[in-house]
Amino acid sequence: MAGSKFFERSALGPLLDLLRSAWKKAVRFGEHLSKGAADARRSARAARGQEVREREGATVPLGTGDQRSWMEGVGSPKAAREPRPEGFVVARIAGEAEVHRAPHVLVEEGLSNHADPSTWGAGGGIVGEPVGGGPPVEASAPAAPEGGGDSEDLAPRAPAPPMDAAPPASPPQRHQRGATPWDEGLGELPSAYQDDTFLALPRDPTTLWLFWDFAPSTIEEARRDLVDPRVRLRLFDEGGLVREQDLALESRSFYLHDLAPGRSYRAELLVVGANGEHRIGSPTNQAALPPKGPSSIVDDRFATLPWGLPLGGDLDLLTHGVSLAGIPESERAALWAASRPGERLGGSESLGGGSQSGRPWVSSRER
């Protein structure tokens, strides 16, 4: 071994490395012969220790690795069961667009076997359930009985392992999904609770999302004695009815688009027949959509709150603030322009273009 170390330290070291590398890659060359002539040519180049940039023909220094190696073999996008783990952090920090631009597969759609979750293998994934989708109306899971409950409690259970103990000493297992050391038998989510929930949530200044989960008896009650019944949604704002449309009760949720921003809405579902109509359950909560754009109300009301002053939950500064005279509109406009130099930034989107329009000072990338 001392001789080997001598060679490593001597000028023959690089040659030894080259020979080792060539031998290793030659073995691989043999394994890949069947992959065809193109693969063979690439392996032969590797065996000569000369990885080549295919487009430019320039030599890449030894040891940088092959930027295309991850495209083949184990762990490649063709074989990967799920996107690269860094996708979450990339999406969060650099924006959703970045995960689609990335050279690695960071999103589900980049996987070649994305459409077939059953190929994910033992312990992989939530077999049978489409990724990204919860239990829709068509879900096959049985509806929960009244008062909740599902079948999972019937499953036999092993004794609980001591979770505060040191981690298991078994060989490392990576990223097991589903098959945990102790199967809790949690079962599947109920497809419905049938608790007569009917809720409205604001999505953006013009969109309201509704979801409902009525008990069969509630729906039956509304249908009773009606001829040719159909389900109709009515939407009200503070001034009265603003929209009315038929929908399928089985959809269980609905996005209402193109609503007026800054207004408060309430929805109700009805069964309408040729001989009358009945409401299904109760109306939704009152849901306020945010306004879009700056307020037209100019009221420069100020308050002074010393730092040590405790804030009570009942404080209402709008009724106790001190009004000051408004500033000139030109001044306000300048501050406004400075506040909006470009399009709006989002934590999960990146801002492209870098428009500097409206920016009243000059900034520069280079000082």
Binding site: P181, T197, P202, F302, P306, R332, S339
Partner: protein, 529 residues
């Protein structure tokens, strides 16, 4: 001094702790963030403080992150992770010994990771929360809190008890870990809706942050745009993000991190080298992953990347810090002219993990910016939001609209065709939790354990990260499974509590697995008269 610059870093990761597996891929989010962001930032801030450089900086530490950083198991596992990095660094120094440029970078990594290991074990004794807390005690950073599990509050507004729990549990957690009251909060995803400010005031929280339009679209119209905070009617101040300073650092297209000299995020020996060589450092299944050893620079919009030169990259970070400083000087000078007697505040919030993890040279940028701000200019002062409010107690009163910092500016990221199915379940179990808290005023000790665990499962299911992952299509399988597991555990607990059949063995398992907020009291969900 003509104005203020508030640098606000938001450090957050969802609760990813999997004691049931020896190694679990999503835990790498934490380990990589510690290695590339938290340790480098603490170390640099500490150096600056030791040198007596005056600065103030604001940092969110979300309760889920604090809980993970304080978790014995994750600390132990991170130590092993660091050991593997240092082992690979040894191999890399040897592997690259005949390639001078690669070898130089390998030696840099060798020093870097061994230094981090020394910091972790010897300097900070594996307690980064304690290290950050000491920096707060020294007066250089201000740590603020966040929603308990980063639940997106605008979509919980029909259940004020659930919103109150997210805020009150976070505040109690903060007091427990930092021995003081939280003065500020980073609302999860900057998600605000009118009315939430009253729940913040109940906890003594004095300020929060919103995206730019959260200020500009407030009612009445704000007098000073985003360059002064607003007092909400409850007295809690809202600070708005300055888009100019955000763009310079954040933008993928025009921001500093895209400079060709900086280290490329994607090229990594975990993907580039022979699998046999990197196998011990990627997934045991053979799936490749990043190792943290990256030898290429961004170069440009090309797949052929040039080699990384860390000295050149660090020098560029220094230059970019100077450029950022210059632009803030001009900006604040101009604003001071327009705003007359009022000193402008420019709020520049970023995800903390941007610095180091995404932008490797980011911590250098921050350090150099702080140094230059202290010595190379006298236009503005680095401050925290509380510094500003202490010195400027008179502000305009207005109410921001519902808003967030997500794409589109509202709830669209977290309420979308890809993820809206979760709200049926989240709403249901929150209703059940509120009912449990109402019905079990005097539980037995075992019932109390089960009730507290039910609250933990609800909180974990509410994390906005799961909906975000489903929307962005990244680790969807994991996000779906986490949501389902927490909802299902809650539902089993609820049934067992109601039927008086609590399975103590399984309860212990759930407590050990989802062990967030051990001090939690489910009574926070009790409806108020």
């Amino acid at each position: 001094m003509k104005g203020y610059l508030v640098l606000q870093l938001h450090a957050h990761l969802p609760f990813v702790r999997h004691p049931e597996h020896e190694r679990f891929l999503e835990e790498d989010w934490l380990y990589e963030a510690i290695t590339e962001t938290y340790l480098p930032l603490i170390s640099r801030f500490e150096t600056l403080a030791d040198e007596g450089i005056p600065f103030r900086l604001s940092l969110t530490m979300t309760p889920s992150l604090v809980q993970m950083l304080r978790d014995d198991l994750l600390q132990w596992r991170y130590g092993e992770h660091l050991d593997r990095l240092c082992e690979l660094a040894d191999k890399e120094v040897d592997r690259t010994r005949h390639e001078p440029r690669l070898h130089d970078t390998a030696r840099f990594y060798h020093h870097h990771f061994n230094h981090l290991r020394w910091l972790w074990h010897e300097r900070y004794h594996r307690d980064l929360v304690g290290a950050f807390a000491k920096l707060q005690d020294r007066g250089v950073i201000e740590i603020i809190t966040c929603g308990a599990t980063h639940g997106f509050l605008p979509l919980m507004q029909t259940q004020p008890e659930a919103v109150r729990a997210q805020i009150a549990i976070a505040a109690a957690h903060y007091r427990h870990h930092f021995q003081r009251d939280p003065v500020g909060i980073w609302l999860p995803e900057c998600g605000f809706y009118p009315g939430v400010e009253r729940l913040l005031a109940e906890e003594g929280i004095r300020y929060f942050f919103v995206d730019t339009h959260g200020i500009l679209d407030a009612q009445p119209k704000p007098r000073y745009g985003v360059f002064a905070p607003l007092y909400t009617p409850a007295g809690v101040a809202a600070f708005g993000r300055d888009p100019e300073s955000s763009e310079q650092v954040w933008s993928a297209g025009t921001g500093y991190p895209g400079d060709p000299v900086y280290r490329d995020f994607y090229r990594d020996i975990g993907y580039d080298l022979d699998l046999d060589y990197v196998r011990p450092y990627v997934q045991a299944t053979g799936d490749r992953k990043s190792t943290g050893f990256k030898y290429h620079r961004i170069t440009g919009a090309t797949a052929d990347k040039d080699l990384y030169d860390w000295r050149a990259a660090f020098a560029q970070a220094d230059r970019h810090a100077g450029n950022f400083l210059f632009n803030r000087e001009r900006q604040i000078e101009h604003l001071a002219l327009v705003m007359g007697d009022r000193r402008p505040v420019v709020v520049a919030p970023y995800d903390a993990e941007l610095f180091g993890h995404w932008w490797f040279e980011g911590p250098v940028f921050l350090e150099m910016l702080i140094r230059k701000a202290a010595y190379d200019q006298n236009v503005f002062r680095l401050a925290t939001a509380s510094d500003y409010l202490r010195e400027n107690p008179s502000q305009q009163v207005a109410t921001p609209p519902l808003c967030s910092w997500g794409a589109g500016g509202y709830s669209g990221v977290w309420l979308d065709g890809s993820n809206d199915w979760i709200y049926r379940h989240l709403h249901r179990i929150a209703e059940q939790m509120i009912a449990l808290a109402r019905d079990y005023a005097q539980p037995t000790p075992l019932e109390r354990r089960a009730l507290n665990q039910a609250a933990r499962e609800l909180l974990l299911a509410q994390s906005s990260d799961w909906a975000f992952i489903m929307k962005t299509g990244t680790m969807v399988e994991y996000a779906v499974q986490r949501t389902k597991e927490h909802v299902l555990r809650f539902q089993r607990l609820e049934r067992q509590i109601r039927s008086g059949t609590i399975d103590e063995g399984w309860l212990g398992y759930a407590e050990g697995k989802d062990n967030i907020f051990p001090e939690l009291d489910y009574g926070i969900y009790r409806p108020r008269a």
